[in-house]
């Protein structure tokens, strides 16, 4: 099992790579990253707006699709951890999204689910790539994540392949003004039979300890 890097290890590696020479004053974020690497501390996932279409009580399950639904199949995986870096199998993860056509089910629970992470905090669900709709620029999946002793996390997952980002999510993520963090825009891996592809995305959820 690899040992966590000590501060000295990290500083040594940076010196070797010339990073310290190039940047004699360590910016706060790098200094924080050193401290985090040493302590196992993690930064919480950035929050994002709750949105008006949340419905409490989504059924348990990990397949959001109906058998005959249209849309590019989507598998989202990730781990639920907290800011101490500990896995949180005791979390509940609620997800909801528009269907392929950009419609939310307001009366029922289509494309809504409550997920239970596994013993290592891992979660996975199968869905379709959410559609665009007139009031929002970018495709997105909503999350509400809760675990004992942590601040509830309300956020949204976005897709780097979204045409809204014009192929340049690093610079164009704020084409949707509600996307306030680049970190929420995740890479999309297309896999499977080219005639029948599916999209895979990973999205880690880090809850803030209170």
């Amino acid at each position: 099992m690899p040992q966590p890097l000590s501060r000295r290890d990290v500083l040594h590696r940076c010196a070797t790579l010339g990073l310290l020479l190039a940047a004699p004053t360590i910016p706060g974020s790098i200094a924080e990253a050193f401290a985090d690497a040493e302590s196992g501390r993690r930064q919480p996932t950035p929050p994002n707006a709750l949105g008006p279409f949340y419905r409490r009580g989504a059924p348990d399950g990990s397949d959001l699709r109906g058998a005959t639904d249209s849309g590019l199949p989507l598998i989202v995986t990730g781990a639920v951890i907290d800011t101490r870096g500990e896995a949180r199998p005791d979390a509940t993860v609620e997800v909801w999204q528009a269907d392929h056509f950009g419609h939310y089910d307001i009366e029922g629970y289509r494309y809504r689910a409550t997920l239970a992470p596994d013993a290592k905090g891992g979660y996975e669900f199968t869905s379709v790539m959410p559609g665009h709709y007139p009031d929002r620029v970018a495709q997105h999946v909503h999350y509400m994540v809760k675990a004992p002793g942590c601040k509830p996390l309300v956020t949204q997952l976005y897709f780097a392949t979204d045409p809204a980002f014009e192929g340049d999510p690093d610079h164009k993520f704020s084409n949707d003004p509600l996307v306030q963090s680049r970190e929420l825009v995740r890479p999309v891996l297309l896999s499977g039979d080219p005639k029948d592809p599916m999209a895979r995305v990973t999205f880690e959820l880090c809850l803030e300890r209170v």
Partner: protein
Amino acid sequence: MRAPILVLAVLGASSLRAFSSDADAGRLVSDLLVREFAMCSDNRSLVVRDDAKVWLVDWPGGTARPPATESDLPPCAAVALGFSPDGRLFAQPKGDGSIAILEAATGTVRTTLTGHVGTIGAVVFSPDGKWLASGGFDNDIRIWDVAAGTCARTLTTPSHATFTLVWAPDGKTFYAGGASRTVTVWSAATGERLRESASLGRPVQNLAISADGRRLVAGTFTADGTRLPADIRVLDAQSFADQRVIPSPDGGTVGVAFSPDGRRVLWASTGGRGIMVTALEH
């Protein structure tokens, strides 16, 4: 977003006049792109917010002026915009689910109410000012004890976001509207849901009640999947029977109100300028 109090301090002098005081119907402040408005407790003025400023609008004359100072606003506080009935306090929802209770004149935070998660759709003081009702996108409606700064009750709501709340004039019940597309009535004392309207077909964005408590006006919007045009509905507050349906020219409303005598409905829509005034039959 609600109008931050401190904005009022930087307003310049200006006025508009666009409405004849003896007309039954028409348009008020037609030069303003209205984002939010409500009738003031003095029944002689409206508080109106456009993209840049807060305005005081004379009712029914229609003369608009920015308040000269922050303390100009409380004497005509608008409860629907989050002021207490006496104008001294202002409830301001934060994006993180907390609600700040501010002293309206100074902007000083008196207390912060925590419990909701995420966006809060509505905060409204009770007519006696002792209670604050809040409705969240988290599907909760809460009643807060304002003096104690604590949550007195969390209501068992149907699983939908709340966008708007209004207290009945007697303070015993309040009405809620939101993503459920219905209007629900709640007992403030017991937290029970007393009645629910039939579906209005669209999410309910704004609610107001007439001074005699007999009529409601509901502003709806066209949401994804609704495929029905937005409208403004005047309803019997007891039976929820439609008394008047006014088609909205846009996708939804940003505010609704009754005139103090209950004979007119005031409404503003998302894309239109000014406040429309529609006369009601009696």
